[in-house]
């Protein structure tokens, strides 16, 4: 597949992406003198790099962590300045041109789901088409073709949040393919997937690339599986210089041992061995209290239900874990395996007291149960223990290691829990330094841990978990994304904890970890509660578009100027409540919808407090006159009540469609806002994770208003940092699909104005009319 670039452009697809007669071909890529130094770094990541890739050539890019592989990939996509700032020099051209059409370069990122922009998979694939202004009628066929091409046979209205990791990567691929790319870039696309799923994704990539004749550049540090799929292997060293380049098997034959030394996973090389780590014992640690083989913790018949909330729709309950039994024994390593979505992380959290199981019980061995855990017949489950007591027994290495950071420096972070437990001393300090040295973090001991790379943060999380000698170590996918060297260090550290007598529980996809486990528990996806086949009847308000609902609720704005007395306000309030009640009616066939009134009352609850506040102030001022106070209270209620009825029916994505197409608000800010609103649930999850981290590290503020307030501020800071990280990842994914230049976009979602919309606005105007009438007739 190394034929030269076609001289004519007949085989290409025009900017509107109309399918052309000839199959699209790959682009020839030329990198000349590329240098990149992010601001604040003394040395450039890439320095004067040259690389030529022929049209249709398939290249695997390998190198140790920090060698600039991902940087080079972003440069090829023209996205280096999208989420970072620095000095960029040199040139990247596609078929001799430096400014390609939108979508000519497709990019799939490592983290499945990082680039999701919409609330349904069909809409998500259509995102790129919207950006280049493809007509709405032309979208469904092309979206369906792209989904079929990657083998994602789900209905287009499925939610992306329900996808497994492999499905999410296929979705990202479909989103790139629908733009008819000529160069496909994959940034560690399978690093976070289990072996079978990864093989499935690779097969899809191989199929697509061959059929379309695409130029392909893949970054991976596990070479197995990709080698047969590429024509060429390019190896970067730690300084971002190309040290080997050629046919994969030639490069391997010549450089295999040096690649292994750099930590790259090379097929045929012996499996790495865990480092033998000797740690200074921690005095008064919970590890080692129990005899080897004695159960540390046992979960019986555990079940966990999860509720997901989304703005503008009702909450949905899913079963994360059902009827699971699990015992973790002292001095043993237990591996939890199973496909993604099987509930491995959730079961681990339930056993470790990080969340409250919905059903079943968790028993902790009596000798390590703290006083607060209750003794004898009335033990308290670990999820009710105070922070310090939990931290003494349990440690947790979360999957998202960035959220695990709690200290100001790396060393500080490792010592945090020991200090919170009152275990700080010479031994603790020595032990912390041993851990940092083992995990290759010693030279970073005084660095701010938030500035570490992802892999470094993951190793730090392992060090910080083990440092105080907990009896139960929970590690969520601890080896994902590690190179051979750091794999050895991470596994060595976990095995050191096992030798000390801790029960170690890991969730993993990594066969190397399973091989070293004393027992394996394979989970299957729990069956979900059956969906009632009879559809719910939709309330009248649910049939109204979001813009009409917004306008109707804002019709109350003239009321303060119109309402003069409590009697007038009472009349208007009665009209509002009547209209709202009508809106909640759900005529027609089907099942009776639930929770309509409850939703309205829940939204009014905070309002009651506000009303009392205003009434109180009016009562004080108005000579303690009840009529004045009642007037003030009712006026405020009149402002709020319509919103309480309609807010639950406003879907942010549809509101975005209406605001852009009917009100003609600028397209890009509207899209950015709706994409961010889709992530509201993930903010919820992030908050929970930050708080859980603090709890298991022994620094959660269990009581005290000031301490809790301080903690809320600290966690809000962490939430903002996490949110901005998501924004940066999403910016890359969106710009790779042509969003940067999308000033005249089309919209996959229609924004119709129908009879119910007019009726809703009429209802809003009725409220104003009622106020005018009341003013004229009522005193």
């Amino acid at each position: 597949m190394t034929e030269p670039a076609p001289a004519d452009t007949a085989g290409l697809v025009d900017p509107l992406g109309r399918p052309s007669a000839a199959a699209p071909r790959g682009a020839a890529v030329e990198v000349a003198g590329l240098s990149w130094r992010p601001y604040g770094r003394a040395r450039p990541v890439l320095h004067g790099l040259d690389l030529t890739v022929a049209a249709g050539e398939r290249v695997l890019l390998a190198g140790p962590s920090g060698s600039g592989k991902s940087t080079l990939l972003r440069a090829l996509a023209g996205l280096l300045l999208t989420a970072d700032s620095g000095e960029l020099d040199g040139e990247v051209t596609l078929d001799g041109e430096s400014e390609g059409r939108a979508g000519a370069v497709g990019l799939v990122l490592q983290d499945p789901g990082a680039g999701v922009v919409a609330s349904s998979i069909g809409r998500d694939v259509a995102f790129g088409l919207e950006n280049v202004g493809v007509a709405r009628d032309a979208m469904p066929a092309r979206v369906a073709a792209a989904l079929a091409e990657v083998g994602l046979d789900l209905p287009p209205d499925s939610s992306p949040s329900t996808l497994s990791g492999g499905e999410a990567q296929r979705l990202a691929l479909a989103g790139a393919l629908v733009m008819e790319p000529r160069l496909l870039l994959l940034d560690e696309p399978t690093a976070m997937l289990d072996a079978d799923t990864a093989a499935g994704v690779r097969a899809v990539v191989a199929d697509v690339v061959a059929r379309r004749g695409l130029t392909l550049v893949v970054v991976e540090h596990r070479l197995t599986g990709w080698l047969d799929l590429v024509d060429r292997l390019v190896v970067l060293d730690g300084d971002g210089t190309i040290v080997a380049d050629g046919a994969p098997h030639d490069v391997l034959a010549e450089h295999a041992s040096s690649l292994v030394r750099q930590g790259i996973w090379v097929p045929g090389a012996p499996e790495p061995q865990p480092l033998r780590v000797a740690l200074t014992p921690m005095p008064r640690a919970a590890a080692g209290v129990l005899a080897p083989g004695a159960p540390v913790v046992a979960g019986t018949d555990l079940g966990v239900e999860r509720r997901s909330r989304r703005l503008g729709s009702t909450s949905r309950s899913t079963t994360a874990v059902a009827g699971a039994d699990l015992a973790v024994e002292a001095g043993r390593l237990t591996a939890l395996t199973g496909p993604s979505g099987a509930g491995k992380s959730t079961l681990m959290a339930a056993v470790g007291g990080l969340l409250a199981p919905t059903t079943g019980r968790v028993d902790v061995a009596a000798p390590i149960t703290p006083v607060s855990g209750g003794q004898g017949d009335c033990p308290r489950p670990p999820h009710e223990w105070p922070s310090v007591d939990l931290a003494r027994v349990v440690a947790w290495v979360p999957q998202r290691a960035a959220t695990a950071v709690v200290g100001r420096t790396v060393r500080d972070d490792v010592l945090t829990t020991a200090r919170a437990l009152g275990l700080s001393g010479a031994d603790a300090e020595t032990r912390a330094d041993e851990l940092l040295a083992t995990l290759g973090l010693a030279r970073l001991a005084d660095t701010d841990p938030r500035h570490l790379s992802g892999g470094e943060q993951r190793r730090l999380a392992v060090a910080s978990a083990i440092a105080h000698g907990p009896a139960l170590v929970l590690a969520d996918e601890p080896t994902v994304g590690q190179d051979r060297l750091t794999w050895s260090a991470v596994m060595g550290t976990l095995e050191a904890a096992r030798r000390e007598g801790a029960g170690v529980l890991v969730t993993t996809h990594d066969p190397g970890v399973v091989d070293r486990a004393d027992q394996e528990l394979a989970l299957r996806r729990p069956s979900q509660p059956a969906v009632d086949p009879e559809p719910e009847r939709r309330p009248l308000l649910a049939r109204v578009g979001p813009l009409a609902l917004l306008v109707a609720a804002l019709c109350v704005l003239p009321l303060p100027a119109l309402l003069g007395s409590w009697r007038q306000a009472l009349v208007v309030l009665a009209v509002e409540v009547t209209l709202g009640a009508v809106g909640l009616l759900a005529p027609g066939p089907g099942r009776r919808p639930e929770g309509r009134l409850r939703g309205v009352l829940a939204r009014l609850a905070p309002a009651v407090v506000a009303v009392v506040g205003v009434a109180w102030s009016a009562w004080l001022l108005g000579g303690r006159d009840l009529e004045i106070a009642a007037g003030a209270a009712l006026r405020v209620l009149c402002l709020i009540v319509p919103s309480a009825f309609v807010v639950g029916f406003i879907d942010p994505e549809r509101l975005g469609d209406h605001l852009a197409q009917r009100v003609h608000l600028p397209a890009r800010p509207v899209v950015a806002a709706t994409a961010a609103l889709q992530r509201l649930q993930s903010f919820d999850d992030l908050w929970t994770e930050l708080m859980t981290t603090r709890r298991v590290r022994g620094i959660r503020a269990d009581r005290g208003l000031v301490r809790r307030g301080t903690e809320a501020v600290a966690v809000t800071g962490g939430l903002l940092v996490g949110a901005l990280g998501q924004a940066a990842g999403l910016a890359l994914a969106m710009d790779a699909r042509g969003f940067a230049g999308a000033h005249r976009r089309s919209w996959a979602g229609p924004a119709p104005w129908r009879l119910p919309d007019s009726l809703a606005v009429l209802g809003g105007l009725t409220i104003v009319g009622a106020a005018l009438v009341a003013r004229a007739l009522v005193g």
Binding site: A83, L621, A672, L720, A727, A728
Partner: protein, 204 residues
């Protein structure tokens, strides 16, 4: 801040990451605003017993989103976009003011915006912060005169305006500057002027 770095390229040309950062800040602040709305009523009502306009001393946090958005992005419209989105999010989750929160978000954002516009979006120090913060608070106060405090006398209204404007200018600016510094030092603002200032300082 010895030298001020302004946003890259033409100031009105928003990059994708500018839009998304504003949007994500807006959503995060929207959640925080909703939570503050629950916590705010009790102390605000308590101080109102003595002198009602004092409740302004608990209302200034609602303007921080717009100030942070402007300090980070440094482009025209950043304050209005961030503040308005925060208002929408808090309203959709369900605040005590319902969708009328949008009006508050809009006027607050406009006030802050005006402070920075007066300096041509080239200065991000105390002068625009104090003026923008005061205007944002003052605009909100005028809207509240109309919608909530209709029974107050003129003296109370003026006191409320100055208390709210003053507390946003001082406390709101302090919190916003602190948060922006925190984000910059955490390495979360690499693509933005405050992050570049922090990194170049560290590099020296």
């Amino acid at each position: 801040m010895s030298t001020t770095i302004t946003a890259s390229g033409p100031l009105t040309r928003w990059r994708t990451i500018d839009l998304l950062t504003c949007a994500f800040l807006g959503v995060a602040f929207g959640v925080a605003y909703w939570a503050w709305g629950l916590a705010y009523e009790a102390p605000a009502t308590a101080v109102s017993a003595g002198f009602p306009p004092l409740s302004a001393l608990f209302a200034w946090p609602w303007l921080v989103a717009g100030i942070v958005g402007m300090l980070v992005i440094r482009r025209p419209g950043a304050a209005v976009f961030t503040e308005l989105l925060a208002a929408i999010v808090s309203a959709l989750i369900g605040t005590q003011w319902g969708l009328t929160t949008l009006v508050s978000g809009l006027v607050q954002g406009l006030g802050v915006e005006l402070g920075f516009a007066l300096f041509g979006y080239a200065v991000y120090s105390w002068a625009p912060l104090l003026i923008g913060g005061f205007l944002g608070g003052a605009f909100e106060a005028v809207y509240e005169w109309y919608s909530y405090w209709t029974d107050w006398g003129f003296g109370y209204k003026i006191a409320y305006l100055f208390l709210l404007g003053g507390s946003v200018a001082i406390f709101g600016s302090l919190l916003a500057v602190g948060l922006t510094k925190l984000l910059a030092n955490a390495g979360a603002l690499a693509a933005f002027p405050p992050g570049q200032e922090a990194r170049e300082r560290a590099a020296v």
